[in-house]
């Protein structure tokens, strides 16, 4: 099982300094996530869920231990290399969508492709294909403030998948949405996992959302425990 892991964490710890005090957020975690998994990370506030997601996504660095994604050690990369690696391998979906307000949906989705060598026409084509996949083709030229919360999050998902990343990391993707919109987002994530084979790691407080995942991991005080398959 370990050899087929897409994500492989060994002895990963994360400490923060808060004044003179050191806060131990994660304690020597070992974790293997297979390719094609849809994993929900649950736990109370401050348990380290988002920290773990950030470490896997390469936007934070562990205090100790190793992180290997698709056979590549990311914990020892330089900041520059890590940025390039993220652009190719990770799609982020944020709770507050984090769309850029002055850009249209299409331009928001196109952003990660600016980090590739694709010509402008091809970038637009792919951005529109991703918007089509989340069912928002007709909203391509709308700005975020002209969209509903659910639509904004769909744009966020289109942006996350447009560069066909290895991993989709979702931090409370339904946390700011009503139940109906939240369900639509979960339907979409589930479809991306089942039909496109995307590996998804989703941080959530909501057991209803976690129930859509294939596996659920609980984090409590920096330690992991695994649920039965959902």
């Amino acid at each position: 099982m370990a050899d087929e892991s897409l994500v492989r964490l060994r002895g990963v710890a994360k400490d923060y300094k808060r004044g003179a005090e050191t806060v131990h957020v994660l304690h020597a975690l070992d974790l293997d996530i297979p390719r094609g998994d849809f994993l929900a990370l649950m736990g109370p506030s401050g348990s380290g869920k988002s920290t773990l997601l950030n470490l896997i996504g390469g936007i934070d660095r562990p205090t100790a231990g190793s992180i290997e994604i698709a056979g590549t050690r990311t914990d020892s990369m330089t900041d520059g290399d890590l940025g390039k690696w993220r652009a190719h391998h990770v799609g982020f979906v944020f709770q507050m969508y984090n769309l850029l307000p002055v850009l249209t949906a299409e331009r928001n989705v196109e952003l990660p492709l600016l980090l590739t060598k694709l010509p402008a026409a091809e970038r637009r084509k792919r951005a529109n294909a991703a918007l089509g996949l989340v069912g928002l083709s007709e909203r391509a030229h709308h700005k975020p403030r002209e969209l509903s919360g659910g639509q904004e999050q769909r744009v966020g998902i289109a942006r996350a998948i447009v560069s066909d990343p290895t991993l989709l990391l979702c931090d409370e993707p339904t946390g700011d949405l009503d139940r109906k919109s939240g369900d639509e987002i979960l339907d979409l994530l589930q479809a991306l996992n089942q039909q496109q084979g995307k590996t998804i790691i989703m941080v959530t407080h909501d057991p209803h959302a976690a129930a859509r995942a294939k596996h659920v991991l609980h984090l409590n005080k920096g330690q992991l425990s695994r649920d039965a398959a959902a």
């Binding site: 940025g83 652009a87 507050m96 984090n98 850029l100 307000p101 060598k117």
Partner: protein, 396 residues
């Protein structure tokens, strides 16, 4: 591996389009920079105007002869006999009336300034009959020239604009004598326009100068004759004089004031610039702060520090550019051509000049504005690029 130019232009244009959300603080910084540029150009245009007057005043075909050891006309003195010897020099240009020379007398008189009513020093120059031939741009623009032998004066246009009672027909009490203003003259804005002219022999009598003069102007056969003229006078045992080309003489005179005004102007601009930098820093820090989550999102997606730094700097430079252009326009409209007078330290008398906003000054002002914008944007841009992504993403 990445299309850096597309990244930079996309992020920068996005940032610039966002500026309307920060209009108030951007305008404060812009006004600050525009003010600094206006003052910088304004002050330096005084130096330019002063320099321009002295530049156009000097011809390299006209020599000024002073007593040896004198650096200006005030400290000089020549006897009539000496002026005849000087006029006999082979290099002096001649016409049907003989050598083109003007032995001159120079006294400083008090005349009230129009602007403040306080008395200021004005040069009263006694000139020889050929004086006009030594100033090729001299022309009477109002009234008539003074009559030799009479207590009459003509007034330079600059002096008549700056001082009270210097209009055609008015009477002027100078020393113990009443003088009549018979005309106003122009000389293409040269130093002469700040002076009052009369007949040298009349002035000698009025001021008890006997037959002495203070300087002698000599038109030479050509500019290249200057050195030979100097050599001839210096080897004449009956003369103990010093020769300047008129151009060199005025260049020396302008040095003190131009250096003083430029130094003071630059110091004021630097001090004001510090204030403007703080305004720009404040604007850019708040711009970065309002975009913290946006910048962190871009960094999370894989954008490097370069596009982030460039986008913040571009915004600051844009504020600098617009501020600079506003400053250029305001300073040109407000100052260019405005006439004023100031003390010429070389002669201790007033010199009238026009503020001169040259293209070089405008460029200098714009470059300064861009430097202010760049400094104002640099630290905030570095901060934006260094902010940890996870911290930025938590910002609302």
């Amino acid at each position: 591996m990445s299309n850096s130019w597309d990244q930079i232009t996309a992020i920068t244009s996005m940032n610039v389009r966002n500026m309307s959300q920060r209009a108030a603080s951007s305008i404060v910084a812009l006004i600050g920079i525009a003010g600094v540029v206006t003052v910088l150009i304004g002050v330096l245009s005084i130096a330019e105007g002063f320099k321009a007057v002295l530049d156009i005043s000097g011809s390299d075909q006209v020599a000024i002869v002073l007593r040896n050891g004198a650096t200006d006309e005030m400290g000089s003195g020549l006897q009539q006999e000496q002026t005849r010897l000087i006029a006999d020099a082979k290099q002096a240009a001649r016409d049907e009336q003989g050598p083109i020379v003007s032995p001159e007398l120079y006294v400083v008189v008090d005349v009230p300034l129009k602007s403040t009513g306080t008395a200021a020093n004005v040069p009263l120059r006694g000139v020889g009959p050929q004086a006009v031939k030594l100033r090729s741009n001299f022309k009477i623009v109002e009234g008539v020239n003074f009559t030799p032998g009479k207590f009459e004066v003509v007034v330079g246009k600059g002096a008549s604009m700056q001082f009270s009672g210097l209009t055609v027909g008015s009477q002027l009490r100078l020393g113990t004598t009443n003088w009549t203003v018979t005309g106003i003259f122009e000389d293409r804005g040269s130093v002469a326009e700040s002076e009052i002219w009369t007949d040298a022999t009349v002035l000698q009598g009025a001021y008890n100068r006997g037959t002495s003069y203070q300087s002698m102007r000599v038109k030479l056969t050509s500019p290249s004759a200057m050195q030979a003229f100097k050599d001839e006078l210096s080897t004449n045992p009956r003369l103990n004089v010093r020769v300047f080309s008129e151009k060199q003489y005025y260049a020396e005179q302008s040095k003190i004031l131009v250096t003083l005004v430029s130094t003071i102007g630059s110091a004021i601009a630097i001090l004001m610039g510090l204030g403007a930098i703080f305004a720009a820093l404040n604007t850019m820090y708040s711009a970065v702060s309002s975009r913290t989550r946006e910048i962190a999102t871009l960094r999370a997606l894989g954008f490097g520090p370069a596009p982030v730094i460039t986008s913040v700097l571009a915004e600051a430079l844009l504020i600098g550019l617009v501020g600079g252009v506003v400053g250029m326009i305001v300073s040109y409209v407000a100052f260019n051509g405005v006439r004023a007078s100031t003390m010429n330290f070389a002669t201790f008398s007033q010199l009238t000049f026009a503020f001169t906003v040259t293209p070089q000054l405008l460029v200098q002002g714009l470059v300064y504005a861009l430097i202010l914008g760049f400094i104002g944007g640099l630290l905030p841009s570095l901060r934006a690029a260094k902010l940890p992504i996870t911290t930025g993403l938590r910002e609302l």
